[in-house]
Symmetry: none
Subunit: 139 residues, 4 copies
């Protein structure tokens, strides 16, 4: 496993805490390098769809090694990757809320957030990623 | 089950009756809080696709706790959630015809309609929702 | 549509009534000749799995034009159709509870029941089929 | 949500602690009444398959309201439910490791464990369920 459960949990908890500050009911998932779930949690009032969306945002970010938001302009009508949104039976999510998690040797996993607006989901994912770094590096 | 079968049937029957008044051949599905079907019926002349579309509209409305129509502007090209239409292998429907059903504690299920134009499907779903409320509350 | 909604509903209601007599919490589905749902209802205390199981029993019976129970001996280890249970991603159900519904020109649909033991499900499906025949033939 | 995140986490943590005592590398998932994930965690050395297996055991237990182990004798060759293992595209798991979680009004969710032998998975799930009860009832 590329991301220890303990570090993944700290990232999820930091993300959930920030969601609470923003008043957003969210689900947060951390996946490993292969896009497989390490840990996920859904807040009590979060909609059911957030489970799958947070997991698929994390998956997309892990298997592409990019923030999900970076794909958004490229998949628009007429753009080079139009149609990518349907790939892998809809598991590829191309709007914000998924961020890669990096270790010394590059991308080792990703975090995905769903439940708020895209901007809120990105902010929550960033809070999770900030908490993960020191846990990983021991700083 | 978050929605009793008897109340769900009254909602479906009211929706089918309104479909008949509008001259629309429709299918109507009621799902519970988790998006699982409680009851569904398809009118004799309704197209086969209406089965799945009514179920998926109800599913989408239950797992997002929103009318399906509310997602429509957000998923257009260039908008923040462009690509959401492909999520969950295409079960997420982002045009009108799905409405949440509310109980005392919030959303307890949803109704989905397919078979007519979007405006007709919305009107039929609203007729179903109106009939469900008194059945649920005992009014 | 090969089965009118009104006749399908009478079959479902008769099946649900018999389930109640047996003290079984069941779901009942009627599908048309193509295996597509005409109507389905789930009793309040029926497990969620009954939704899909009743629909897949009806589907199997419609697309094979046989009672689902008839396949049971043929799919056992060493028998000629061992492995059929996995066909169509698991939609083919090879134990009792699905029965074809016949019209003048042969099989026009099927009824599927889930929620009790196999014997109970078969008995409930038979109750549904008995109610459907007069509705269909006008007897 | 039928199971609060905090209570679900306590169940998962208790299960993971017992897995550690047994020397088993496991994944543990808690789902709500509808089978949708509330929280899941995978231990660092657990195989990737444990993610899906723990989730599907929890799902099976929620949608059938039974321990997954109870289905095991019924699905053997020649038995009444032979073939059930393929239902719902293989999400139905019929050996031990999934247990329903009960509230005042009956089954409100389930816990699923994968990673050890079946006996170990059952023991770990039971440890999780024991921890969840007081959290739920406030005892």
């Amino acid at each position: 496993v590329s991301i220890p459960l303990e570090a993944a949990r700290e990232a999820v908890d930091a993300a959930l805490a920030h969601a609470g500050e923003l008043g957003v009911d969210a689900a947060v998932t951390v996946v490993d390098q292969g896009g497989h779930v390490v840990t996920m949690s859904r807040m009590d009032a979060a909609a059911i769809l957030t489970v799958r969306m947070s997991a698929d945002k994390a998956y997309t970010s892990a298997v592409t090694r990019m923030p999900t938001a970076d794909w958004h302009p490229l998949v628009q009508p007429g753009q080079s990757l139009f149609g990518l949104t349907s790939a892998e039976a809809g598991r590829i999510i191309t709007f914000g809320g998924g961020l890669p998690l990096e270790g010394e040797a590059g991308v080792v996993g990703a975090i995905g957030v769903a439940g708020g607006s895209v901007d809120q989901d990105v902010a929550i994912a960033e809070a999770g990623r900030r908490a993960w770094r020191p846990a990983w590096t021991g700083a």
